[in-house]
């Protein structure tokens, strides 16, 4: 591609680098001692007040429970859970429920899945084992970052961590940008091709500076290895080929040993070592000075960690609220400011101050009143997404669809809840594969609708029969009204409204020749409804 004709979208990227870390320092933040939900609600409500926005009403209990169960454990609530929650009259039952969900094994599996997708963007599941362990042991996001970058397969605690770098290492440009997007919220691919014409601080040196940290990494057989020597050279847009320094996005440079050309003897020794590694088929030892480890140090250092802190906060906010504080997620720069700068800065500071505890941050987000608003907006057109005045519809992920479809076929849960959920996750995998991954401006495809309408495989999986199953319970029920109630309760996780009761009862009566088939059709219609397809 012609390097002179990059699109204009890159333009804004940069002022952030000129601005450096100024942002957080200049804002007046709420006290550190405040709770996360209180800070969120205060910041968002201040925006409504300033702009005369009327928020949506609070969501009802059933809606809230379904939302939070999907967000925290990747599946709809079961019938007994709905009953227990709505019958609980304690004033802090939502907090209790959030804690119950977060401490359940399903939360760990769900978050591992979510982060796998976030980091890998393709269905490989190669990082799942590591992430399950890391999240299960409540490792902070900083530690996870370090472990993925260092990728030490010899240590049992970090086994599997190299699955992040391994598939990317053959394309260092891509690896550089992937790391920058996932951990720093900045797409740096623009600067691969040219210096920015406006911001003096932002040059190709930044892209190649970041790339330098990965340039000594290579594959030896099944393993990652890192050399003691090596620098990146690149041909700038103007002028002669030059050497990139080891430089972070903020412009901070470090001196890396091994940056001068290796001597002949050193090269020989290194070649010999590599041959030995190849033969031994074990993980090569880390170099005396690991460039990747130095990147971690640098990105987490007090003066340079703003990118790291904010990127994850923004991503989690996006997953919980359906729209980031900064959108797009990989354009976190000053020309594209957050909708709520103080809020983002406070959350980022809080995240860092609490050992980058992902669960704590998520717990705070979902405990807010803002999270608990209805997705329905009555009276006029809805406020813009970045006001967070009305809940967004979030399409279910493939895994959420698969597991939820399996759970929706159950009228009750007998025995250990987590075992049943794990079983639904396992049995739902085949179904999950039929649904597309999340994307910006997600659009449902007709292929999906045809699959639900006509596939034998689908109908073979979503109408199971048995003691605890919905279809069996409907067959045993005494009246059509009871059947209607059961179907809505199981599939949509809420009681049926009177108009729904009468529609379904009427349907069952009209198709009464084959009660079982008629019940299947009712269940089908509910599973194919948008209310099921979205986390609303």
């Amino acid at each position: 591609m012609n390097k002179r004709i990059e699109p204009l979208w890159f333009l804004p990227l940069l002022a952030v680098f000129a601005a450096g870390l100024r942002g957080a320092d200049e804002l007046v933040l709420p006290p550190a001692s405040m709770s996360i939900p209180a800070v969120i609600d205060q910041a968002v409500e201040a925006g409504w007040k300033e702009r005369g926005i009327k928020p949506a009403s609070p969501a009802d209990d059933h809606t809230w429970l379904r939302r939070v169960t999907l967000d925290l454990t990747g599946r709809i609530p079961t019938v007994p859970e709905v009953k227990a929650f709505t019958e609980d009259k304690s004033s802090n039952r939502r907090e209790i429920h959030i804690d119950r969900l977060i401490s359940s094994p399903a939360y760990v599996r769900h978050m591992a899945h979510e982060l796998e997708w976030y980091l890998m963007r393709e269905k490989s599941n190669s990082l799942l084992a590591y992430l399950n362990r890391a999240i299960g042991e409540k490792r902070g996001w900083d530690r996870i970052f370090r472990e993925l970058m260092v990728a030490n397969e010899s240590d049992a605690a970090t086994k599997g961590s190299s699955a992040y770098l391994k598939p990317k290492v053959r394309d260092l440009d891509r690896l550089t940008n992937d790391v920058s997007v996932a951990f720093f919220g900045v797409n740096v691919s623009c600067a691969q091709c040219h210096d920015h014409p406006l911001v003096q601080d932002w040059k190709q040196d930044h892209f190649y500076g970041l790339k330098s940290f990965f340039s000594r990494t290579f594959e030896v057989g099944e393993h990652l290895a890192e050399k003691e020597h090596g620098v990146v050279r690149f041909l700038p847009n103007k002028g002669k080929e030059k050497e990139a320094g080891f430089m972070f996005l903020t412009g901070t440079k470090i001196a890396m040993p091994g940056s001068s050309e290796a001597t002949k003897d050193q090269q020989k020794a290194e070649a010999k070592k590599i041959e030995e590694w190849k033969k031994s088929k074990t993980q090569p030892p880390a170099p005396t000075h690991s460039a990747r480890a130095r990147l971690v140090e640098l990105a987490l250092s007090a003066n340079d960690r703003d990118f790291f802190n904010k990127a994850m906060v923004n991503y989690l906010w996006y997953r919980m609220f359906g729209h980031g504080l900064v959108m797009p997620l990989d354009q976190m720069h000053s020309e594209n400011p957050p909708s709520h700068p103080e809020l983002l800065a406070w959350l980022a500071r809080d995240f860092a101050a609490h050992q980058y505890d992902i669960s704590r941050l998520i717990r705070g987000m979902v405990a807010s009143k803002t999270y608990a608003l209805s997705s329905r907006y009555e009276g006029g057109s809805a406020p813009a997404a970045n006001e967070f005045a009305v809940a967004r519809l979030k399409p279910l992920t493939p895994a959420q669809m698969g597991t939820s479809l399996r759970l929706a076929g159950m009228a009750t849960v007998k025995g250990d809840l987590d075992k049943k959920i794990e079983e639904a996750e396992r049995n739902g995998r085949g179904l999950a594969d039929q649904f597309p991954p999340l994307a910006d401006d997600f659009q449902v495809s007709v292929t999906e609708a045809l699959f639900m309408a006509n596939s034998k495989r689908y109908s073979g999986e979503v109408f199971p029969e048995g003691d605890d199953k919905l279809l069996t319970a409907m067959m045993k029920a005494a009246t059509d009204d009871i059947r209607a109630g059961l179907a809505v309760q199981s599939v949509l996780s809420r009681p049926a409204r009177p108009d729904e009761m009468s529609l379904i009862s009427h349907y069952l009566k009209r198709h009464g020749g084959d009660q079982k088939e008629a019940s299947r059709q009712v269940i089908w219609s509910l599973m194919a409804s948008p209310e099921f397809r979205f986390n609303y």
Partner: protein, 426 residues
Amino acid sequence: MTRRSGICTPEDHAASRRQFLGAAAASGITAFGAQASVLAGELKKQGKSVIMLWLAGGASQLETFDPKPGAVTGGPFRSIQTSTAGVRISELMPKLAKRLHDTCIIRSLNTKNADHGGGADLMMRGRRDEASLRFPDLGAVLARELGASDSKVPDYVSFYLQTEGRNFAGSGFLGARFGPMQLSQGMTPENLSKPDNISASDFADRMALRDSWSRAFEQGRISSSLGSHQQAFARVGGLMESQKLFDLAGESAKTRELYGPTQFAEQVLIARRLVEAGVPFVRVGRAWWDSHGQNFETHQEMVPELDHVMTTLLEDLKQRGMLKNTLVLTLSEFGRTPGINSSLGRDHFASAWSCSLSGCGVIGGSVYGKTDDRGDKVVDGEIGAARLFATIYKALGINPQKNYYVGSRPVPLTDPGTEPVKEVLA
């Protein structure tokens, strides 16, 4: 954001991001959706379509469109005169030679990637993916540009029964909505027919019940994702109707005989039926061109079939008055080496190879570009994938510089500054 001087971008990237987002927010639709109706509307009415004959594995330009008889690289086949004065093609294509008047041959592709995966990725999309951006393939772009949101037919169908090189297509950042209806198992698509255990009336009733849940849920909720859910289910009935398009019993015995009994011929005939019914893009993948050994036997067997099926298709489209609105492409991921290897094969070669465009928007009987006497390199009119794609878009009346938006980033259909090959455009 104001315009600034010294910026390395073309004019049409200067749209203000803020203005754009502001407008999108005000109208309640996403940045992505807002663009959809602007240019596409008129085109859709014109009913333009593409049938792509995808020669997977890499067909040899020397045994098809750019023969070099007598050269050391030429191989055993002769060239023959075509209906265009001075233009000769391989003797393995006698039928096309007689009716070259709707076809334009491009002999000057230099696409630089001679790896199956990389080459196919490139020639399906017209460009390489970026680090964090997967581009849509031609089918997905045309599904979006030429398909109607409530269409009763699919907008992107891909026949790909052979396994060679199957998985390189994809809708990239356009998402599953514009992905292909994939026929990789048989001649009829999956899930288009009603299951046996439900009657037609129950099927309709069940759908009506679903629609009532959908209507209730949509009260007070506006989102383009939600709209697409309703739209997807609304299209189910029409698409199931379109199943008959895949059934060749709907064609006269005479027509079927004209195309011939091979799988490739039948798929191309189905492609014609689909296009006739309004499907904007059909790809028929025909694999096993990767002739590292026995290149000449392979091409002796496969080129005449291509010749026959392609000319039958062109003639059929012409007689039905469809050729002026249908662009027929023959394309591979690359061509084959002029040098003949020790197994009498030709290897991968992306530096000087050929493709053809017939029908809609192109000058029939024309040849663009030239390779040297041995076919080793392009000596005139060299183009890469980007210019080929710009030419294809232009032939269909689509602006090759039209922007899609990924988040707030404008992404033009072809890289900025890419010029179509005007010499072949009608």
